[in-house]
Each structure stands twice: as structure tokens, then as C-alpha cells.
Symmetry: C2
């Protein structure tokens, strides 16, 4: 069966044309993995949602209400994913947020997608569309995603699984829908999310797993040369987990998955409830 | 009467929760002034829409269809404004744009809002929310407007009409919903829109009016000190036209409207059909 859609708890596929989510991208979202009818790492997703709501001034619903609606959306589906979108709701034409927004809550479930064997390294490319810098919006998963859309429009070859994105100052920051990690000389490195990019839930889990495994992890500025010099590279995303990179097109190949990647992949596959 | 809403030519207030306009802000819009049932400067708005569509890869409708729908939305209203929103339409969950998007076209009319006497200078403030830089998105009126929303959330005093926004590198670029002009020693100056900001239709009309009036106009980088040293400052927007600035809070007052502002205000009020 296909997924279900709930708008403010009611089965519906429609929102108002006056919704600020549409008008301005004035909202936040979470895309969560589900197994056996339960959302994985639910508390972490709710923590990031709360942080996004706090920074944008959008009141977030009680996590128990979200959990209940996710369960309803997943009924009959079991595994797959759930996307929760929270907007500042409908409003008159004005950038100014209403003093008391009537938040719109959208829950959409989807059946699982076929996944690569995690043992196979994926092919990624370097995107030309840069990420603009804005510390006010960095880290949170807001609805202003044109940069990611433009980056994905750069290629159509289905053999290319993802694209790496750089900030306007040249730093490598993330993939279009994933965070990026490098392993160099046994140390784990990932770009700082201070002025662009999303602080992924799986990124946080990988950093914790590294600590538990005794792998030294550092949040640093990453340059393109660092990718070339890395022993291992992998991407992380809440739905697809840890994905070893086998090749960065036009740059280099890696013997994926490397030892550190494999250990972190196994650790994070087990973790999360 | 209140305004009308048309979605793809049909009277409706609903769009799909799967619309990419909501999911990613994947779309563009135009907010246009109307008088006697006609949209002012319609061709210029359609030119900017076409440029936005070209850059984002969103097919734009025939302007004749848009004109017809604007006229329908304005029926019984006459004057006021029309907002046209064009999204890349519904799609599965993926940043990647569909190869053949089913574009969503939304036309919403609104009754006129009470306007300040253009002879009164408005009070503006300096916003703290910065504008991120991205040449790929600069100039076009896309749906990723969280920066403007955050800037407008900085104040609530209704006596403050607008807020000036700076790029992350400190240049003054625009107001939250307007372009900005300075007059200094008889010369007209306006910030370059090369890596952030929107190239407003009224901004273009003012630059043309300056040429016609023999006022030297330059597109330059503007710093906060330039505002302090200016003889006149004004804002432009397709709905509110030319608005002289009487005060920048905490910085300085101007004897608004100055001679150049007044001449450009009169010239642009007459122009446009």
C-alpha cells in the first residue's frame, strides 16, 4: 500500500494556499525511518525539531501527539519512512510572522525504498551549486531547500547516488541530503555545521558511536584536498544510514567500506529504538 | 469583498501537501499592483517571472493565461494587488526536480491596503538577520524567504515601516520587502543585486526614470556609512511604490521627501500600465 497523509491529525492531502510553508518556506521538517511501525531515533528527531522551532519561533507540538500520528500514518505499512512537516500555518500576505500562529502539522508516510547493499560503495559527484552562509539558519532542517533542489538538478545519471556541496567559500559541507564523514589515519572528521548545512540526526549518532568505539572524532573545516587525501569517506542520513563512498567522480576511488566505516555502520545499525 | 483564489485556473484555496512549493520552497512568485482591474507593469513582472523560471528550470505559463486569471481574480475588486505563485508542482519525496514537472499556478487577489501619504517619510530600522550569499539564487523572487521572515520577526512596533537588511559581509542590500535607494550629491545609488536580494520591478522602473530625468544613477556596494552620509533615502516596492525614508532608527533623520525622491516618485507614479 502507499503511504498515508495526515494534516493536523485528519486524513487529508490538502493545505491552504495561504499557508506560510508554501508562501515563504516558513517551517521545518523531519524525515524519519520506521521499522515495525515505530519511528527510529524518535527522541532525537523531536529534539532537533524543538531546536528548529525555538530558533524560528514556531511552537512545536507535544512529541506524544507526533508519535501517535506517526503510528497512525504507518498503520498497515510497518516499515518505511515518515516525514513530519511543521509550518507557521496560514496567514495574510506579509513576511511578518503572526503573533499567535496556527501551526500546520503534516505527517506523510512512505513505503520503504529499495536500498543499496551497504557493502557497495556509492558513486558521488561534486556539485557546482554553492551553499549560502547564514548562521541564523544553519543546522536546522527548514523548508528553504532551493539550493539542494538546484544541486540535484545538476545530474540525471542514476548511477550517481549523491552530490557533495560546498559553501560559497569552498569548504565541503555536506551532500544534498546527507552529512559527510572522512576517515584519515584512523581519525574521523566531519565538517562543522556553523553557517550552512543541516546537523543530521544520523551525524549525531555516528559521532557518539565513534566515541563508544574509541575512534577519535573531530568537527573541522573540510577542503576538497582533504577528500582526496582521505582513507575512507561515507555519507549519513536518517533513512539510508551510513553509506560508504566508493568513488568521487573525476577525483578518486576508495576501497569501500573501510574498517572505520564498517565499524560505525554496524554500530549505528544496531542503535536507535 | 475579499480577494479570490485560483489554483491552476479553478477557484480553490487548496494545494497538495506533496507540492514542491511547500516541501522545498521550490517556486517563484510575483506580487503585483492593480488598478481599474488591470495589473500595473504586467510585462515587467512577467519578464522577471520568466527569468526566475529559466534559472530554476520551472516552465512558466503564457503571460496571456496569467493576465486572464489575474483579471478573473480581480473581478469585483478593481484595485488592490495580485500575487502569482508558480511552483514546480507535486512530486515524490526527493530534492531532484521531476523531469516533466506539472507546475502549480496560484493567483490570489487582495483588496488595497491603507497607504501612508507618500509625503510622509517612513521610519525604518536596521535588521540583525543577515542575508546569505548565493549568486545562483540572487535577483529572482523565489519562495525561500525565511531570512525575510526572521528579519520581520525582529520588531513589532507598528510605527516602524520596514527593516534594512545587510549581507553577511556587511553590505546594505535591501529592505525585507523592498529595494533601497540613496541620493548623495545629486547622484542616485542603489545596491548591486549580484549574490543576494531581489531585483525589484519598481527598482528597475526607478533606474529608468532616473535616466529619463537626467539623474546620474549607479549600482554600487552600499555600506552603513553611506546611509549616514546620504542626502535622501527611499524604498521601492511594486505595491507601495517609492517611499521616502524619514528616519533610520538610532542613526539619522532625513528631511523627506528630498527633491530627487519627489521627482522619481512622481515619475514612477505616472508610468506603467
Amino acid at each position: 500500500m502507499i503511504g498515508r497523509r495526515l494534516v493536523n491529525g485528519v486524513e487529508s492531502s490538502a493545505i491552504s494556499v495561504d499557508d506560510r510553508g508554501l508562501q515563504y518556506g516558513d517551517g521545518i521538517f523531519e524525515t524519519m525511518s520506521a521499522q515495525d511501525g515505530r519511528v527510529r531515533n524518535f527522541e532525537r528527531h523531536m529534539e532537533r525539531l524543538a531546536e528548529g522551532g525555538r530558533r524560528l519561533g514556531i511552537p512545536v507540538p507535544d512529541p506524544r501527539l507526533v508519535a501517535e500520528e506517526c503510528a497512525r500514518a504507518l498503520a498497515g505499512l510497518g516499515a518505511g519512512s515518515v516525514k513530519l512537516t511543521l509550518t507557521r500555518g496560514p496567514g495574510p500576505r506579509s513576511y511578518r510572522p503572526p503573533a499567535e500562529p496556527a501551526v500546520t502539522r503534516i505527517v506523510v508516510s512512505s513505503a520503504p525504498k529499495p536500498r543499496n547493499d551497504p557493502e557497495d560503495g556509492i558513486v558521488v559527484r561534486l556539485c557546482e551549486t554553492p551553499l549560502g552562509l547564514n548562521p541564523r539558519l544553519a543546522g536546522i532542517k527548514h523548508l528553504n531547500r532551493l539550493e539542494q533542489v538546484m544541486a540535484c538538478a545538476e545530474w540525471s545519471d542514476p548511477a550517481i547516488a549523491e552530490g557533495l556541496m560546498s559553501a560559497v567559500d569552498g569548504r565541503i559541507v555536506c551532500a544534498t541530503a546527507a552529512n559527510v564523514f572522512l576517515v584519515k589515519g584512523g581519525r574521523l572528521l566531519t565538517p562543522a555545521i556553523r553557517d550552512c548545512g543541516v546537523a543530521g540526526v544520523m551525524r549525531g549518532l555516528v559521532l557518539e558511536a565513534a566515541r563508544e568505539l574509541g575512534i577519535v572524532a573531530e568537527v573541522v573545516d573540510v577542503r576538497i584536498d582533504d577528500l582526496g587525501a582521505a582513507d575512507e569517506v561515507f555519507l549519513t542520513n536518517a533513512i539510508t544510514g551510513v553509506r560508504p563512498v566508493g568513488e568521487i567522480l573525476g577525483m578518486r576511488r576508495y576501497a569501500a567500506p573501510g574498517d572505520a566505516t564498517r565499524a560505525l555502520l554496524e554500530r549505528t545499525s544496531r542503535a536507535g529504538a
